[in-house]
């Protein structure tokens, strides 16, 4: 059904408009918005695989990447996406900027706003930073991750990967496992995958499970073996060690024993279950290193590849 929707959307792209000015989170999007973005993204997949990757869709537009947190794949993905669409892309180096001198987010935003960018892509360690920014600037704001709240383009690229591999999302059983408490990827995926009709299992030790999560229409498990049963997709999350400010877990090795994705645990899922991971991975902590590299099971590289296509779609749609 999703495919049909996407095809429909593709045919009538001209008629469809996105409901939001900014891409701050999946929570703000309608199913029509999501299908619109995914259908656009699909068209960019082949472009990215071809020799000439450059378009002039965003020629003359200025995109500023404002990353307050270190990032490899998201920042480079957004940078490539912007460049392939023909935009002028500037990535701010926070380490050398006035922010290090104590400038507030709003002042930084006002400064950048005065330079008339068309797009600001922001990643920030505080939840809601992109919302605050969007209230202060005239251009479009794209959230590349805010605190533990949302990471919408990651969820969209995950959805696109699943659709590419499984042909659909509706009716699939998808397990999201690991440090849910600190994860914006988990939150965005919960909103998106439930919206698209998946049956979502959330697997985490209770210390890493946010309060009242079951109210989002998911199934909660602290026993990974139960949570993986019969799943089509196993999405592993990074154990965000750098955010642990007190003892959530006893040790990495115990975590691996109970929550690391190992071949025996993967056996509980469906035979053709796929492994996903937003990266960067902690091999031997949340995922067995051989599983991560198993090209028959792991689609981690595809996620990165489709990430560029999804971000191109988002930049194109939200910039107009």
């Amino acid at each position: 059904m999703v495919i049909e929707l996407i095809l429909m959307a593709t045919k009538s792209n001209k008629a469809i408009k996105i409901s939001q000015k900014h891409l701050l989170g999946i929570q703000d999007l309608s199913i029509t918005d999501v299908n619109f973005i995914l259908s656009e993204a699909k068209q960019f997949i082949n472009l990215n695989r071809s020799k000439n990757k450059k378009l002039d869709t965003l020629r003359g537009k200025t995109q500023i990447n404002l990353f307050f947190e270190p990032s490899t794949r998201t920042q480079s993905s957004f940078e490539l996406a912007g460049k392939r669409l023909g935009a002028d892309v500037m990535s701010m180096n926070i380490v050398n900027s006035a922010i290090k001198k104590g400038e507030t987010l709003i002042d930084t935003a006002m400064t950048l706003n005065a330079m008339h960018p068309d797009l600001i892509v922001i990643r920030h360690q505080d939840s809601g930073a992109c919302n605050l920014l969007s209230q202060k600037v005239n251009c479009t704001v794209i959230n590349a991750g805010d605190g533990r709240r949302e990471h919408p383009t990651q969820a969209l690229l995950d959805a696109l990967t699943i659709i590419e591999k499984k042909g659909k999302i509706q009716g699939l059983k998808i397990a999201i496992c690991g440090d849910i408490l600190h994860s914006r990827v988990a939150r965005s995926n919960i909103y998106l995958l439930t919206m698209l009709g998946a049956d979502v299992n959330i697997v985490a030790p209770t210390n890493l499970m946010p309060k009242d999560l079951e109210k989002f229409g998911i199934n909660k498990f602290s026993d990974m073996k139960k949570g993986l049963y019969d799943c089509d997709i196993v999405m592993m999350l990074r154990l965000q060690n750098e955010r642990m400010n007190s003892s959530f877990l006893a040790s990495n090795r115990e975590y691996y024993e109970y929550y690391g994705l190992t071949p025996d645990k993967l056996d509980i899922a469906k035979d053709d279950a796929l492994i996903m991971h937003p990266g960067p991975m902690n091999r031997g902590i949340e995922i067995d290193t051989n599983l991560a590299d198993d090209i028959n099971k792991s689609v981690i590289q595809e996620q990165v590849e489709l990430g560029v296509a999804v971000r191109m779609a988002c930049l194109k749609i939200f910039c107009n």
């Binding site: 709003i106 605050l132 605190g147 949302e150 309060k211």
Partner: protein, 428 residues
């Protein structure tokens, strides 16, 4: 000062169990000379001019037990003059100020400064507290006896909690010996660490670190267990959750202590935070609608004694930040009464219950002769049109800081005049 006559008012004075239609006479010395139904057109000298209140209300001047003032150290947020003007416009004539200033009010030399500034710059009654521990560090207690002699009304670490149980027991013993009032802000700092709002579905959705209600409960349970062994004058500053109300209700059956609630927690809930409204980042945090309802019931059955404004002025710079970095607290002394009246208009509480929690109850806890209209007492009171509709606009607020939690809220009931010692210091 000329004698003043007010007639045709609805008078509520909970301390004297007075709730009747009548008048008020203020003596030339600014004292209450006569009050009640016996004061009417027929028995005042016919030559005297009187003010016809046409059914408007007279309440005793409000006693606000929890107010932060910026002096010394944060004068840019609020000074005694701006605090005084803000309070008067809300019918508040007595405030208890928190010691969280810079420097902190933790020694006798600071008290003289405070009293002098308070006297010179403000027109309302200022009752300063001092900190429970030196420099609010939670390790060594301050000189309750000497500070009290200098005029300190109570002891509290303000927005901080005494975490150390042994220290708390010793504080209680000293408070008993010196007859000092201890005010605790109840929150376990480990459980609340880095917390910004109630722990629940909204915090999960917004991706903000939650503060579980058990963080409050655990300190209340601990303190009340200690209080059984170490009796003293103990007051819980302000509670936020249904669980706390239940514990307090049970313990009040056999223990003597008191407790307050912020008008914010009585009127708002966590949903009001919406999309990261930093003006609603409060301590204790706003909790669920169910918690709010139980707090209202707690006032009804007198489990909760006092309503406070928890007035915490913060300049805009401290609020124009991400939720994580924004300062905690809201300005509220001037809207305390009007917002409380909402609970009367929506039939949650009786008017008398509300006024009692704003006047005679805090005065009784503090052992001060304020918040009443007793004959011979200073005429500190306000006149209120309880039906007058108005909208809270930050540009109209008199406090130096405009961080109100209820910007644009429509309220019903406004103070029209406020008197201190018989002198009209505020007129709408």
């Amino acid at each position: 000062m000329k004698k003043k006559y007010f007639l045709n008012a609805n008078i509520i004075d909970p301390k004297n169990s007075l709730e009747e239609f009548g008048g008020l006479i203020i003596s030339e010395e600014g004292k209450i000379e006569a009050i009640g139904k016996k004061v009417n057109e027929n028995n005042i000298p016919s030559r005297e001019k009187y003010i016809d209140l046409k059914g408007n209300y007279i309440f005793p001047g409000i006693v606000d037990m929890r107010v932060f003032v910026g002096e010394p150290g944060y004068e840019y947020k609020e000074n005694f003059r701006t605090l005084s003007n803000a309070a008067l416009s809300g019918g508040v004539t007595s405030v208890v100020t928190m010691p969280n200033t810079n420097p902190i009010i933790d020694n006798v030399s600071m008290v003289d400064f405070l009293k002098r500034r308070g006297r010179d710059k403000s027109k309302i009654n200022i009752f300063p507290t001092a900190s429970l521990t030196k420099n609010l560090e939670g390790t060594n207690m301050t000189e309750f006896g000497l500070l009290q002699k200098k005029g300190i009304i109570a002891f509290t670490d303000g927005s901080k909690t005494i975490q150390n149980t042994r220290l708390m027991s010793r504080i209680m013993n000293s408070a008993y010996d010196l007859n000092a009032l201890i005010i605790q802000h109840a929150e376990d700092s480990d459980l609340a660490d880095k917390g910004m709002m109630n722990d629940g579905i909204i915090s999960t959705k917004l991706g903000l670190q939650g503060i579980p209600d058990v963080a409050e409960r655990i300190i209340i349970e601990r303190d009340l267990s200690l209080l059984e062994e170490h009796k003293c004058r103990y007051h819980i500053s302000q509670i936020s959750s249904a669980k706390s109300v239940k514990i307090i209700k049970d313990k009040k059956n056999f223990l003597k202590f008191t407790c307050g609630v912020s008008i914010n927690n009585l009127s708002l809930n966590e949903n009001d935070i919406g999309e990261f409204r930093t003006f609603l980042k409060l301590s204790p945090p706003l909790r669920t609608e169910e918690d709010r309802n139980v707090l209202v019931d707690g006032l009804k059955d007198e489990t909760i004694d006092v309503i406070v404004s928890d007035h915490k002025p913060e300049d805009e710079e401290q609020k124009r930040l991400t939720f994580a970095k924004a300062a905690t607290g809201s300005s509220g002394v001037e809207t305390l009464l009007s917002l409380s009246l909402e609970l009367f208009h929506n039939e949650s509480l009786k008017l008398n219950t509300i006024i009692k929690a704003l006047t005679s109850n805090p005065a009784k806890i503090l052992k001060i002769d304020k918040g009443n209209l007793s004959i011979g007492n200073n005429a500190d009171f306000c006149i209120v049109d309880i039906n007058k509709p108005w909208v809270v606009k930050k540009e109209n607020l008199l406090s130096k800081s405009k961080n109100t939690s209820i910007e644009n809220k429509k309220l019903q009931g406004k103070v029209t005049n406020t008197f201190v010692k018989g002198e009209e210091l505020y007129k709408i």
